[in-house]
Symmetry: D2
Subunit: 205 residues, 4 copies
């Protein structure tokens, strides 16, 4: 059964056409996943949608989260893309994580959240510093709500301290980033595959 | 010259009338500041306003940030209130920090950001765990954009692991929280006072 | 093939006989793993050993890490136990993570670190606050050096804000902690099993 | 009254003669402080001393902390130097912070910890990424035990993602780092001066 990956881009830029370095990093991962036979859905640019603050799966009229939530849960692999601002994940990425808090109350008869058996990886970019701070927060929050994190789950680029280069301006991908993208795709594809074939059995009581 | 404090509440609840535990914590600090002669402005509930994602001081039509930014900078002390979700600061608080990133480019002739000489303290509440993770991120981000952090700058309450008690449901304030609120107000008031009397001289070149 | 778990205790208390709340949490998890057929090795109290600072797998004479490293890598599941101090993981736990940095240079012919295919979970205790800050840092550091993190990988207890209760003084385990321990063991056992049966294939080039 | 700064270096390298990039960053700050009239004590290389794990100010025979603690508290400004490992502060720096936890119980008759009125700044270096994660943790832990953090309190350098350049190998200091060092020294010197002239009054009750 073919695996499916869903990328999300938590850039602060709302206009879908606006260039985003995070999109470039997501594209790099998407290419690697596709070359391993994974179907990669179109990237969802979160800031282009209306996602009100809250911790429920539906915050009412005009909430775009229910549809995005469905797209994310239809996939086996989440590619969580976010830029770094002030050394931290974007407010848009935090909004998304908060909405996933609802998974805690949406368990099936075996106590499994809707995210169980799915794997998540990060695509992180910034002008400088913050990639590990970002992945640590995203890993912890996603893990708390049921996602599994495969070995080497963060593909990132940041420039030198206080730098201002944008990842999207590179003409060729730095070798180490390209290698990391391949490793992330290797491990996530393998883990998503065996978890799909042999899902978490869930919990008693 | 009388000092002024501006509290902000970064709860996810947009309706100004909706009960917020963060408001209760802010109220506790406000009372302490007032009893030390500090004027405390009305709390700004951020989620009740429209603050688009971005890193500029004005993101255009319908942006409420320019007015809120002015209120914050009119005060000497920022009371940064945020709930904890998933062990981390709220997306609303992150949105605000990102908008302050613009301070980096808004220096005066002596290289001082508009936040220079002002002090910031945190008011943090959650059902369980995360207060230190929240204060670490807020301190770092605020400090990067020019705020000074007085000794003992976080007043917080969280319940036992995986608890569900709300701070707003307490009939009386826990002793240790009351004592911390007094300490935070003591130090922030003193530091804001001496910094107002003797501002940072700024930087050469 | 029977799975094996190796617990480590990163308490600051060096004397093996000295009571440690972290040991109690590890014991809770060990019991759950054993009831699922996993062999659980004796807990290694790290502070009772000499582990010099460094980022190599052997820092020379008197270094106890090579033997501990072997014990950890002989198991399929790492139970990473640490207390919380100042809202953060202990210095002893950081020492251990730094020594695992060497894994990055110890890949096999398929580019796999010695930790590949192994899963890690956390056992975290503190008087108050910090569990999510701790798990976020441990997940990120372990993931960077090849460990896989199963859904719901942190079992923790902390008391109310500024509390002073020790987890070891509980007469009965809080229900929610007991339930979490079972969930952690369920997921980690399943994931370690399928990864052992179907290891990460590694990377080309 | 002349101000005094005490630098500490939390590198993993124990040999005092061994080259440390953190020393270079500390040296940069020391020069800036000296040119503003601050006396800068010799850097204490923590890993060259025996500092057992614990949270008391004296852990008994062979503990070098009591003497180092005295040197730190004899100064007005702490220059907290640490390398980055795995995107996080070093285990050596965490050891030190834990030992300062004892300050909480060492208040004077006005409820002031021994760190009250002193300011702390960071000197952080790494091959790549992690400076903001490090400063966030150090600011939070130091603030919890009574230190004040002046505006712009972190001077750091990190290379591009997954880089391997050492800061100590630069022939000339990058402009932005030099400018930051001057800003850190400007603000910390001013703040330490006014706090020395007008100490925190402490707390009632």
């Amino acid at each position: 059964m073919r695996l499916k990956a869903q990328p999300i881009n938590c850039t602060l830029k709302a206009a879908p056409g606006e260039d985003s370095s995070t999109d470039v990093m997501i594209g790099l991962l998407a290419e690697q996943f596709e070359s391993r036979g994974v179907e990669v859905a179109s990237t969802i640019r979160i800031a282009a949608h209306t996602i009100p603050p809250g911790v429920r799966s539906d915050e009412g009229d005009g909430d775009d989260w229910p549809a995005i939530r469905k797209q994310i849960l239809d996939a086996d692999i989440l590619i969580f893309g976010t830029p770094i601002w002030m050394g931290q994940p974007s407010s848009v990425s935090k909004r998304l994580l908060e909405r996933m808090d609802a998974f805690l109350g949406e368990t099936d008869e075996a106590g499994r959240m809707p995210s169980y058996g799915k794997v998540a990886v990060c695509a992180i970019v910034g002008n400088e510093d913050g990639a590990h701070a970002v992945s640590s927060q995203i890993f912890q929050a996603l893990n708390d709500v049921g996602w599994t994190i495969p070995a080497i789950a963060a593909c990132y680029w940041v420039g030198e301290a206080m730098g201002s280069t944008d990842f999207k301006d590179f003409k060729t991908t730095p070798d180490k980033v390209a290698r990391t993208a391949a490793m992330v795709a290797d491990n996530a594809t393998h883990l998503a595959g065996i978890l799909k074939a042999s899902p978490f059995p869930g919990h008693e009581g």
